[in-house]
Amino acid sequence: MTERRAAILFLTPAFAVILLFFLLPVIASLLLSLTDFDIYAVADIHNIRLIGLRNYSDLLGNALFWKALGNTLYFTVVGGPLTVIVSLATALLVNAKTARFKPLFRTVYFAPVVTTIVAVAVVWKYLYHPRFGLLNRGLHVFGIAPIDWLGDPHWAMPAIMLLAIWKNFGYNMIIFVAALQGVPEELYEAARIDGASGVQQFRHVTLPMLGPTFVFVGIITAIGYLQLFPEPYVMTRGGPVNSTLSVVMLMYEQGFKWWNMGFAAAVAFILFLFIAAATVLQLWAQRSRT
């Protein structure tokens, strides 16, 4: 019994923190999403009305929301898998037996993860500059006409994706490297004795052994990418023609620019549902495979 009491005692601080800084704010914003808290409520708190689910129904009828949702899904569905592929490829390179200076490359690839996004975005803005940018200079060498990366509605999102992939692959790479090192060498040995080629070893030994890691990396990347915000906020402000407006960006604008806090809270909860759905979907896909 005393053991149990001790356990509760030790858990209490953590529970208190979760309750105070996580659970209460979540409940508060859920309640907020059922009100029409706006600029008039800032002036006088009595200007709040409980409006039930009207924020949610307004949201579903809002063209800008669907545009933002479409952009965010585009970013996640295209950018997410690409990030995972790039991470795995670099992990394999860094982990290869013949590779030299492994610690150096691991550090170099991991560096973008720990640099500030704002500083990075400023440098990338130079890279993307239509006239003086390095990227267009490079294209020029191959005779490709300059692209207005951040000014063209069709190119702006791919440009943001490229930055996000570069910024985030290092984190996943480290996790893949750790997982690769955990694959027992005997399995490769046995495969080689059975006459498996390099590609076959990768498909039938490496990939299955990395299964759980894929789920983890996939979920973490999806959660992060569905919350796309700082890249477009710094680089494009959601433009041009709302082509890089993300759901979080819409929430920020509604909440902090126009102070429609009730509406913004509703956006947050819809986004939460999407993230939860994406997570459950991936877990389910993994379970059905095994």
């Binding site: 029409d36 800032v42 002036a43 200007n47 509605p153 796309l228 433009g239 102070w259």
Partner: protein, 425 residues
């Protein structure tokens, strides 16, 4: 992404630090010279620092200028107010004033104006009006902004004065140069069609600002005029993001007219090739009839406001008086090329003898404020949405007008409720 959450935590802890510092400051500043906190926006916030040593020399008041980028200014000001961290005074886009008055953030300056060097008649009346809400004054114009007609003087020898002359000029240009356009009216902007509506004396909203007034014949006529320009092929149906380079387009003659503001005077000088420099000019807006000339334009620009929470309102007012002096207004013009709000400053040779500015001087006497309700910017966005839809044949003119009224009424629903609640006994 995850940075967002961590940056929020950082904000929380910095606000604690800032709070503590303020606490220290308030208890130590009694003997020290007075310190004003002033938020300037964008370029203006940067250069105003050069004018302040003179103010400090005269009054002994120190001014700490914090520069806020324009793109984040609105949310920073509003967040500062909600977080009770407003500066003593700030520069503010004059269209935002009604919103900040609605939340009781701004100090009413009426009393101070009674005996001050700042006098309302010295300012352009349309611009001054943007600072008035329900008969009280909440801001003093710092610099002014409006739109006039920029045109190719080699293609248009005499700028049009009436709408029918305007249409004739466009028809002639289109006839002579079928592969080019006469005017650029970007479809993703609400300003152009709104200016035409103001020129036709449309009120946009009803008198109380509680309902849309877009089916009113004055707005309907202007909207029809705007759409006709596209229907007849005089303007390209493109958004300004689709125009790679406005200056190049203007120099090549892709279009010969453009409705824009004073910031483009400098840009045209800098970006148009040298042989184009004697081929462009500005003119006040054409009006529906000759008697009405020049047509009304929008009253834009920035004002200086004092926050209610400030404990140094007298010192803040001194700074506003200083920045409103004609000499300081001229100096500010030299530093920024922003047009002076004080009419006296327009007598200075630098302003008075600059040909493109003459049209602005005339136009500024004929500017009207946009509807002074906090919801205006949201309504304005709907104006261009429906305007664009009509240009692209997705709506007819009557449909667009009814739709605009419906949307404006929905946006203003809360305002009607709040006003009704206030007037209930």
């Amino acid at each position: 992404m995850s940075d967002l959450r961590s940056s929020r935590n950082i904000h929380r802890s910095t606000s604690v630090v800032v709070g503590l510092t303020l606490l220290l400051l308030c208890c130590t500043s009694r003997s020290a010279p007075e310190h004003l906190k002033f938020w300037g926006l964008g370029h203006e916030g940067e250069v105003v620092a050069k004018m302040l040593p003179e103010f400090t020399r005269r009054t002994g008041i120190q001014v700490d200028v914090q520069q806020i980028p324009w793109t984040a200014a609105h949310e920073k000001l509003l967040t500062a107010y909600v977080g009770e961290a407003t500066p003593d005074l700030a520069q503010m886009g004059n269209t935002w004033i009604p919103e900040f008055v609605a939340v009781h953030a701004l100090d009413d300056l009426q009393q101070r104006l009674a005996h001050s060097t700042v006098r309302a008649p010295d300012f352009f009346s349309g611009i001054w009006a943007t600072n008035e809400v329900d008969g009280l004054v909440y801001g003093i114009p710092w610099y002014v902004d409006t739109r006039v007609l920029f045109y190719r003087s080699d293609l248009i020898p005499k700028p049009p004065r009436t709408w029918s002359e305007w249409m004739d000029v466009m028809a002639r240009l289109k006839r002579e140069r079928p592969n080019h356009y006469a005017i650029l009216l970007p479809t993703n902007q609400w300003e152009e069609v709104t200016i035409m509506a103001l020129s036709n004396h449309a009120t946009l909203l009803n008198a109380g600002g509680t309902e849309g007034n877009f089916t009113d014949p004055r707005f309907a006529e202007a909207f029809q005029f705007f759409i006709d320009i596209f229907r007849r092929g005089y303007a390209p149906p493109v958004a300004n993001t689709q125009v790679a380079n406005v200056y190049q387009g203007f120099a090549q003659g892709d279009f010969a007219m453009y409705l824009t503001g004073p910031w483009n005077v400098g840009e045209f000088r800098q970006r148009l090739p040298a042989d184009m420099q004697d081929k462009w000019a500005t003119a006040p807006l054409p009006a529906p009839t000759v008697a009405d000339w020049p047509g009304m334009s929008m009253a834009g620009g920035s004002s200086l406001v004092i926050f209610n929470a400030s404990k140094k309102k007298d010192a803040a007012w001194k700074l506003i008086e200083f920045l409103s002096e004609p000499e300081q207004q001229i100096r500010f013009y030299e530093l920024t090329q922003d047009l002076p709000a004080n009419r006296e400053a327009w007598r200075a040779p630098a302003v008075a003898n600059d040909p493109p500015l003459a049209a602005f001087r005339i136009q500024l006497e004929h500017v009207a404020p946009l509807p002074r309700v906090p919801e205006w910017e949201q309504i304005a966005t709907e104006i261009y949405h429906d305007g664009e839809a009509t240009v692209r044949h997705a709506m007819t003119v009557p449909q667009a007008l009814t739709d605009l009224n419906r949307k404006a009424d929905a946006i203003l629903a809360k305002r009607r409720w709040v006003l009704a609640r206030m007037h209930r006994p």
